[in-house]
């Protein structure tokens, strides 16, 4: 059972509901350099940042039809960074004019024993992967260009193979609920990346 749908009200029960606004696209490997070059020019001036993350997706099955999904992510190249636990709700079906995919999101930083704790709660790991790529920022927008690697032996993050010959590009913003002008800013930024990459709102349900 997913949590009750989050409405336009940003505050429920004393906590602010944060929403993730998302646009996705992809580029073939050989176009990566030009995209990175364009992003370096458009985005905030900072040291080029790369990352290698290991993400595990956990499911909690109850009597309800759909299991509860939690994503646990840890950095493989930054020692001492906290683990990141993320809950993503169902995409808000609303305004067809809204330019980005909007879903409720809860981000929690945790200690390293997260996987043991989740197992104790009853969660079971559904799948895992390694993401390796580049990170850019423009104001509150985050642009990530990364490649997904399949883990061949469960738990062994050294032995991986690329899932495809392309890089996934994601433009996202995490903002309080009700701030729809954010998706306009995102669309304007996405326009600047054309024709290198076409970022669009992709409904996950239509892919399944």
């Amino acid at each position: 059972m997913e949590a009750p749908p989050v409405t336009m009200m940003p505050v429920t029960g004393g906590t602010i509901n944060m929403m993730e606004y998302l646009l996705q696209g992809s580029v073939l490997d050989h176009s990566l350099e030009s995209l990175i070059h364009r992003l370096r020019g458009l985005c905030d001036n900072m040291e080029p940042e790369t990352f290698v993350d290991h993400e595990m997706v956990f499911l909690l099955k109850g009597q309800q039809a759909s299991p509860f999904v939690l994503r646990a992510r840890r950095s493989l190249d930054r020692a001492g960074a906290p683990w990141h636990l993320r809950y993503l709700g169902q995409p808000e079906m609303g305004d067809k004019n809204r330019h980005a995919l909007v879903r409720n999101c809860v981000d929690i930083a945790t200690s390293e024993n997260l996987t043991d704790f989740l197992m104790e709660m009853g969660f079971r790991m559904d799948h895992e992967f390694v993401a390796r790529g580049h990170l850019f920022r423009k104001g509150i927008m985050k642009i990530v260009v990364y490649k997904i690697f399949r883990i061949l032996v469960p738990g062994n993050t050294d032995n991986t193979e690329a899932l495809s010959l392309s890089y996934l590009v994601e433009l996202s913003v995490v903002a309080p609920a009700g701030q729809d002008m954010v998706s306009d800013d995102m669309r304007n930024f996405a326009e600047q990346l054309k024709p290198l990459v076409h970022l669009e709102k992709i409904d996950p349900k239509r892919l399944m």
């Binding site: 059972m1 949590a3 029960g13 906590t15 909690l60 099955k61 109850g62 009597q63 309800q64 509860f68 636990l85 809950y87 709700g89 809860v106 981000d107 929690i108 930083a109 945790t110 200690s111 024993n113 997260l114 043991d116 704790f117 104790e120 709660m121 009853g122």
Partner: protein, 212 residues
């Protein structure tokens, strides 16, 4: 954050909870400790909802979600005899989302509130443990700031506790256990509080109830 010992102070003969707390705080003030604000440690119990039990084939587990005013941006989640997760306060928001799978046992929410006293390198917190409207006991927490290795400073901490607790001084906490040279962490303090709260929960609801 240093090595900490959490213990329960029995209520003095013929006195109420509040009076015993006052006796203790007076002892501390005579020792020369300075009052430094207040503290609060709370604990809420969650149990696995009946709907998830069938598919897992395991007995319902109790999960404790605790907060400590000493670490205001953190949330501690523990299972008895299980791992202790240290997370940020968004974990509470997640528990709201998990309402269908984990139900909060509102009646068993327990907390301890009181004053913080600083005495040189030591920090002492004397709190009244309450469950709902009734006072159920007294918690005493003693911390030796400079050290994070229990085996290095336990005897010093014990001696300090004896100076105001007298015969009510506790033995070495079980969290110090076998890991003599391990680095002490806030999660160990929360484990001690969980143990204390569980002991108080199991004590009969009788004579100690009610703040007189």
């Amino acid at each position: 954050m240093g090595v900490t010992c959490v213990s329960q102070m029995p209520v003095a003969e013929g006195k109420s909870v509040q009076q015993t707390v006052e006796l203790l705080t007076r002892e501390l003030e005579m020792l020369g400790a300075e009052k430094q604000g207040t503290f609060c440690v709370d604990d809420e119990t969650y149990h696995t909802a009946a709907s998830t039990l069938g598919s897992q084939g395991q007995a319902g587990k109790l999960m404790y979600v605790m907060h400590n005013s000493e670490y205001p941006l953190s949330c501690f989640a523990l299972f008895e005899n299980g791992p202790c997760l240290v997370a940020d306060t968004n974990f509470d928001v997640l528990m709201v989302k998990l309402k269908g799978f984990f139900q909060s046992a509102k009646a068993s929410k327990i907390e301890t509130r009181g004053t913080r006293y600083q005495y040189y390198d030591f920090l002492v917190k004397v709190g009244t443990v309450t469950m709902g409207p009734s006072a159920r006991g007294i918690s005493v927490e003693g911390e030796y700031g400079p050290s994070v290795v229990a085996s290095d400073c336990w005897s010093l901490l014990l001696e300090f506790l004896q100076s105001f607790l007298g015969s009510n001084t506790p033995g070495a906490p079980t969290v110090f256990g076998n890991r003599h040279d391990a680095v002490y962490s806030p999660a160990d303090t929360m484990l001690q509080y969980m143990g204390l709260f569980n002991k108080i929960r199991r004590q009969q609801q009788g004579p100690v109830a009610g703040i007189r």
